[in-house]
């Protein structure tokens, strides 16, 4: 417990501040619903809106819970592929269920990482979760 606390605490008291050192592969989180043996299509969990007005940007300065959740999910995706498995997967399940509501018996998510390659953007699936029922993820 003490060791875990120190490992969480020390980087906050002695931070490295290397923001945007490099722009690496960028994760997208997709989910699909599973019911009665049928697997649905993959959907992006938190798609970006087409446009955000200036006024809405200003409002988000003081009220931005959905966007902050989205950024937390990006951190979870990056942690999951770096090996921090259990907590990240449980949180992603919980947050996706929270977003979509209970629409099916089970849900599965996958992590798709976008990488620039020869001028184009390549999407690679790097992780697929175990399907879970709403009670587990919610």
């Amino acid at each position: 417990m003490l060791r875990k606390t120190l490992s969480l605490l020390l980087p906050t008291i002695f931070p490295s501040w290397r923001f945007f050192k490099t722009v690496g592969p960028s994760p997208r989180i997709e989910y699909r619903l599973i019911g009665k043996g049928q697997k649905g299509d993959w959907h992006e969990s938190h798609p970006l809106p087409e446009h955000v007005s200036f006024l809405r940007m200003l409002r988000r300065m003081v009220w931005n819970p959905a966007r902050n959740t989205q950024l937390y999910m990006v951190s979870l995706a990056e942690r999951l592929v770096s090996g921090i498995h259990e907590h990240s997967e449980a949180e992603l399940n919980r947050l996706i269920w929270e977003r979509i509501g209970k629409q099916a018996a089970k849900m599965q998510f996958r992590l798709v990482f976008l990488v620039p390659e020869d001028g184009a953007i390549t999407a690679t699936v790097v992780y697929e979760s175990t399907p879970v029922a709403a009670e587990v993820g919610a």
């Binding site: 945007f20 490099t22 009220w63």
Partner: protein, 225 residues
């Protein structure tokens, strides 16, 4: 700026910032007890009563949150929040170390700009503007799909890259005079505002502002008459 005034202004700004983020969490119906307690502690800190008791409790809730989210919820914003809370707590609990605690916060603020700028300066993709093109082209950061069109303006983004790198690397020199420091902080706040509006990083804006009073006091302490 006197030490006591700087301490109180920082406390009020921190309380308002943590109140805002806690209300966001609470609105989503998550961890109600933890964020309810945190909101109550923020209001206590705003009152100015017994900060030497309130701040350690607030700090404790931050540690619990680190466990709850298995790290920071909002990356650097949470780190800076913890840093400000820790510095204030040490300043109240160990008065003989108070100056050092707040000076540490000021130095970390300077490093947050300088180190970020330095690592960008060392990266050829940042120098060519390609990194910022990639941010707009495929990263998760733009708040809308329409902002991705900026990826098609590489010359503009290269100029922006050098503006960011230049500002961040040069920032320590703003300490040379109170006026340059105020100008530097104004540019820095504008930079955070742009990041908040374009990339949705609103928590960075507010929490970085919380550390500014410590730097204004620190500069005065170092070079003031």
């Amino acid at each position: 700026m006197s030490f006591d005034l700087m301490l109180r202004v920082t406390e009020v700004m921190l309380a308002l910032t943590l109140l805002q983020s806690s209300l966001e969490h609470l609105s989503l119906g998550r961890d109600r007890l933890l964020f309810g307690v945190r909101i109550w502690l923020c209001l206590w800190l705003l009152s100015g009563l017994a900060p030497e008791i309130c701040l350690p409790l607030l700090w404790l809730t931050s540690v619990i949150l680190l466990h709850r989210f298995n790290g920071p919820y909002n990356g650097g914003a949470d780190k800076m929040g913890m840093l400000v809370t820790t510095s204030l707590m040490v300043a109240h609990l160990l008065p003989q170390w108070a100056d050092l605690a707040m000076a540490y916060l000021a130095v970390q603020l300077v490093l947050s700009y300088f180190v970020s700028g330095y690592v960008k300066l060392m990266n050829p993709e940042w120098r060519s503007g390609q990194a910022l093109v990639d941010v707009y082209r495929f990263s998760v950061y733009p708040v809308s799909e329409s902002l991705r069109s900026y990826a098609g303006r590489p010359k503009l983004l290269q100029a922006m890259s050098w503006a960011v790198i230049g500002f961040e690397v040069v920032f320590p020199l703003t300490l040379l005079h109170p006026i340059t420091l105020w100008l530097g902080l104004l540019v820095a706040a504008t930079f955070h505002l742009a990041n908040a509006m374009l990339f949705g990083l609103n928590r960075f804006f507010w929490i970085w502002l919380c550390a500014y009073p410590s730097l204004i006091w620190f500069q005065d302490r170092l070079l003031g008459s």
